[in-house]
Every structure is written in structure tokens, then in C-alpha cells.
Assembly symmetry: C2
Homo-oligomer: 375 residues x 2
């Protein structure tokens, strides 16, 4: 049985309240008494019981996190970002992986509330009801931050990627390499990411005076075979593109398969830029130039927003778009090929995925963050 306040109080002949206040460094306790209490706490290896403290103070300093899938590259990175920021601020994380099951999502939410979490981060989830939060969470008024899934619930914060910006970067990069006929293999329609990336692509074309040919956009389903099929179709045309901006890295892998099958030499005959900066991008040959989807930073930002609400009790909701950078590898031709085998080592050296604390400095309400920044 670990030491409690009572043990310290008895050992020193003081009252419980005095010890409690001394440990909290309250001004109404004399310096000498504080010293004695601190010394005794040290001697008895006292550690506060956060359960009891949470019961009394009604603040548990734990945050509930529901993520769609911890074991995915995206989910785990969001979690890593959240945890780093929470730990820095003395909070801890109760984690639930919903595994795309709405009922587990709902049950998990209830369990987190029963554990009296101070706040909630819902990452890439919340499939069952987009319109409303359960009454339990609203009436307890625990703050909520949504990550990567825009919802139309009033009063909650949102953190998402700036896909518009990222797609602009990718397309601009291809244009800068002299390409004039650039195709885009997009995600399935109906996705925010698909739309934003198409818009960024179109905007870059326009800004550099290239004509936008709707036939150069083909929709895939984010999966490898769809990228393969789309590339096959593009490359079999009379006037095939010289470059393809692919909506994600997995489809880009399919594009590489198709290009290889067509006997094309990459990146000379065809330049490719992916999206996401998945780990696989370093292992494809040629290694894939791609736009980073800043999942770690998004998690970090979500935690910052939540703690901002908790400690500064900010009221007005904000929406933040986090930007990823373009990661240069061999699939665009700008890099020398000789050291591309070392791409993974470099990827790891910079901490695997980004660990920089960029993209967010204080909560600023942004409605359409990418537009004003780009134009």
C-alpha cells in the first residue's frame, strides 16, 4: 500500500489539509512547514492518487482518443502526435481503436465518459451520426476535436490536412520539371480529399497557363489495382501524359507497375508524384516523390487545440488545416538515382515521419485556409 496524505500528516503531526496545501505549494503554508512536508513526502515515496484527486476535483487530466484504426500508418501517427503533446502538458491518453465499427465507437465513447475524460479527440472516425454528438458529451460539456473528418457539428474544433495546398505543390513541381501534359489519378468522388486535391491540381495548371483537360483526370478507389488500371488507360492513349500526379501512394505503386509493363523508363519517360508519404514510398523503385500527409502534426495540433480549450477555456471553435511538404525522391527525375537505396535511412533519420512542430502557432480561425494562403 503506497503512502497517502494521511501518512505524511501523521508522521509530522500535521493535519491532512496542511499537507495537501503544502504539496500544492499554497501561499497559506509557511515555508518551513512546506520543507518538512516535501522532505517527508520524498522519504515516504509519496505519489498522489490521481483517481482520488480526479473524483474530488472533477478533472481527471486524461483525454479520450478514439481513432479509426491504430494499426494503420495514419492512425498510429495521429496517436503519436496526440500523445507527445498531451504528455508534454501532463495529460494522459485513454485510447480506443474503433476498427470502423460504429457500435464500438459509440460504446467506446460511453466508456470514456464514464472514466470522466476531460476532453475527446475523434480521429478519422465518427461514422454513425455526423450531425450530432450524444447528449452525454454535450451536457457534460467536454470539449471535442475532430481530426481528418469534417463534421457539421457546431462548436467543435476541427483539424484536417491542407490537401489543396499539397496538390498544388505536387503539380507545380511537375510543371517546374517542364511537363506540360500532366494527368491526375484522383480518389473516388465524394471524398473531401479527392475534391481538394483535384482543385489544387487545377489551380496550379491555371496559375502556370496550362490548359486543363478533363480527360486527364481518372478516378480510382485509393487502391493499387485501380492505380494500375488508370495508368494503363492513360498510357495507351494517342497522346499519353508525360507526368502523373497520383492521389495517393498506393495507387502510385500501381502506376509504377503499369509503367514498367509498358516498357517505360522512369522517370525519363514518365514522371510520377504521389500523395501521403507512406513508408512504402521509399521502397518503390524508383522511390516515390510524394506529398506528405502530416498525420503526426495533425494529432499534435488536435491535442494543442484541446488543451487550449481546457486551460484557457477558449469558447469559439476553430478549424485548422495543416500543411505537409513535398518530399523529393527519384520518381520525378530531379534526384540522382545512385543513392535512392538510402531513402529509407534518410526517412528514418528525420524521425520516420515528421516530428517537427510546424503548421500551427496558436489557434486561428480559418474558414478556407488554403485559398488565402495560396492566392
Amino acid at each position: 500500500m503506497p503512502a497517502t496524505l494521511k501518512d505524511i500528516a501523521q508522521a509530522l503531526g500535521l493535519s491532512l489539509a496542511t499537507v495537501s496545501k503544502a504539496l500544492a505549494d499554497s501561499p497559506e503554508i509557511s515555508p518551513e512547514t512546506k520543507e518538512k512536508v516535501w522532505a517527508m513526502a520524498q522519504a515516504l515515496h509519496y505519489h498522489p492518487n490521481l483517481v482520488a484527486r480526479g473524483l474530488r476535483s472533477r478533472r481527471s487530466r486524461t483525454i479520450g482518443v478514439i481513432v479509426d484504426n491504430v494499426s494503420s500508418e495514419f492512425g498510429s501517427l495521429v496517436v503519436a502526435g496526440i500523445q507527445d503533446e498531451l504528455l508534454r502538458c501532463g495529460y494522459q491518453m485513454l485510447l480506443i481503436s474503433a476498427e470502423k465499427r460504429p457500435e464500438q465507437e459509440k460504446a467506446g465513447l460511453a466508456m470514456l465518459l464514464e472514466r470522466a475524460v476531460d476532453g475527446l479527440i475523434l480521429a478519422d472516425t465518427w461514422h454513425h451520426s455526423v450531425e450530432t454528438l450524444p447528449s452525454e458529451v454535450t451536457e457534460r460539456n467536454v470539449p471535442v476535436v475532430f481530426v481528418n473528418r469534417r463534421v457539421s457539428i457546431v462548436g467543435v474544433d476541427f483539424v484536417g490536412p491542407d490537401d489543396y495546398y499539397g496538390a498544388y505543390l505536387a503539380t507545380e513541381h511537375l510543371i517546374g520539371h517542364g511537363h506540360r501534359r500532366i494527368a491526375h489519378i484522383a480518389g473516388p468522388s465524394g471524398w473531401q480529399a479527392t475534391d481538394d486535391r483535384i482543385r489544387g491540381y487545377q489551380c496550379a495548371l491555371k496559375d502556370y497557363g496550362l490548359v486543363y483537360d478533363p480527360d486527364l483526370i481518372i478516378h480510382g478507389d485509393w487502391d493499387l489495382p485501380s492505380g494500375y488500371a488508370a495508368a494503363k488507360q492513360l498510357l495507351s492513349r494517342d497522346e499519353p501524359p508525360t507526368a502523373i500526379f497520383v492521389g495517393n501512394d498506393v495507387m502510385a505503386a500501381g502506376v509504377l507497375d503499369a509503367a514498367r509493363e509498358c516498357g517505360l523508363s522512369l522517370p525519363h519517360d514518365l514522371a510520377i508524384v504521389g500523395y501521403d508519404d507512406r513508408e512504402i514510398a521509399c521502397f518503390l523503385r524508383p522511390a516515390l516523390t510524394t506529398v506528405e500527409l502530416p498525420m503526426y502534426d495533425m494529432g499534435l495540433t488536435a491535442a494543442m487545440l484541446l488543451i487550449d480549450r481546457l486551460v484557457r477555456s477558449r469558447a469559439e471553435p476553430v478549424a485548422v488545416a495543416v500543411r505537409g511538404r513535398l518530399v523529393y525522391r527519384a520518381s520525378c527525375g530531379s534526384h540522382s538515382l545512385q543513392d535512392e537505396g538510402y531513402a529509407y535511412r534518410r526517412w528514418q533519420a528525420r524521425g520516420g515521419h515528421t516530428r517537427s512542430q510546424k503548421g500551427y502557432s496558436g489557434p486561428v480561425p480559418i474558414v478556407e485556409p488554403s485559398l488565402n494562403a495560396l492566392q
Copy 2:
């Protein structure tokens, strides 16, 4: 403010104790009263305050998990396995990612204990003191399970992979394809995994009557360039191997680079088996036949062992070795190449990584689990 037991009691004119016992379905409450209490609890949206319950009952039904790195493929899979089993048993998970920082590991452990976790799972971590657990955890006697990092602490459970078995599987598979000269690119010496995989490789050679040539083992450092260099060396010999069992998938990617550079046609000129079944194995060309490192199952098993201790208060420690299976892809030649682009889709279809509840049925003390099973 959410409803409490007192609210229910007042609404029904009952005492607090009666309501508490009714909700716990205690036999000393009449069925009629129980019905009324349950109905009222439903009506008032009552949810128990687990913080208060934890304070009183001294059991929080939360498990502390410290993992080396959540954002790695391994770490996130362990976490997923742990969370699935914990959730099934009504437990929740406080997660800390130590990021290879011993001080964060130590601080995190202290924080978890302050939160009165019922048990601890230490996955791939515990770098600072292998010999002893801190006195706080022993004197509170919270059970501990170590995952993937064997420690010489008495009385704690251990879950690890059966690398000996996996390496045997891989080598046996190459032998079955007719290869007689099989090299092994091992991990750095000093690793348990390196030794076990070498021993499995040697054992398979012996069982099938092949001579073991020490020159055919080259040590790498788990990283891509080291696999590349090792393969270059092996392939430049007078009598190069016709197959290589590579100690992990990342080095195997380097082997593929080297083979491509030597103008070899895979898998005809050189067959390759990797280890880990990382996601990248599906994206390499040819897609990599590899042995699964069952991280998800290891996490699942760790949680099972912990809960077994908690609810059945098992005393004697056990060590469990979990086996992964051999995943057949193209790099060994047994598969038709035409559909290898769909490997990722199949990989996802079976749930990404393994989600089967295999490898463990009740805690059985195993000292050297692979030996007796294989022989």
C-alpha cells in the same frame, strides 16, 4: 451534470445502498425493486462514475501500456492486439509511447501507477534497468507482462515471437523449391531474433540433409543498405547462392535492388524469403514471400495473460512464444506473377495483419517453446 446513484435513490424513495446493490444485481434485492431501479437508471441516463468506483474498490479496470513507438508498424500492431483483447474484457488502456527515451519510460510508468492501473504491459521497451522493476510496481503488486523483450526479472510474464520456428519455415520452403545453396542475411549479432533465426535456418538445413556453410551467413544491421551490400557480396562469389533467406523485409528490399542491378531475373535466378511481413512486402517487386512476425497476436496474448492474472489471480509466471505463418508471394517462384499486383488487396482483405486469435490457448509454461514443437 450526469445522474448519480443519489438521483436514482431520491427519485424512487430508496436508499443509496439499495440502488447500488440493485444495479449490481445483488441477490439481497428483490426482483421488483431491481426492475424499478433499472428502469429509473435508464430513464435518467445513468452511467456509473468509474473514477469513484475505482477509488472505492481500488480496481480501476484500466491497464497501462508502454510501447516503444506507437507509430511504428510493430508498435501499432501490438497496441491493436492489446486493445482488442482488453476491450473485450471490459478494460481500457492508458497508452504511453516511450520513443526510446528511458526517462520517458520511467516517468510514464510513475504516471500510470498514480492513475492506479490494474496491470502493466511493457512492449519492446524497458531499456533502463533490465534486472529489476521499480519498487512502486512490486509493492503494489500490479502484474506485468513483457512483450518482445526478454528480461531476467522473476515473476513476470513474457510474450515473444517464435523466430526459431519462423526461420525454419522459411528455409524449409526454399528447400522445398529445390534450392540446395541457400544463404542467410542475418541481423546484427547480439539480438535474440538474430540468433533464433540463424538457429532455425541451420536446423532446417540439417533436417533436410544439406551441408551448413558458415560463409553463407552474412550479418546486416536490419537496414536496407546493409541488405544491398550483403547481397552484392553473395552474388559476386564464384558459386553464388540460388536462394537467400533474409532476416527482415527491409534488408530484403536491399537484396532486390542488388539482384536487379546484377541483371538477375527474379524469382528464377534467385529466390528470396524475407521476415516480418511488413506492409512493404506487398509493394516490392516481385512481392516478397515472407514470415509473419505476429505482433498483433503477441499483443493479444499479452493482454490475455494479464487479465488471466487479474481475474483468476494466477501466480506462476509463463513465457509464451507466438508463431507467425509463412506468407506466400512471388519472390520464391511458386506463385503466378499475374496477380501479384493484388497482393495488397488480399493483404487488406484478411484484415491487414493477422487478426486471428491463434497461437495461445490458456497459459502454458514454455521454456523453449520452439524446440519441442519442431522436434
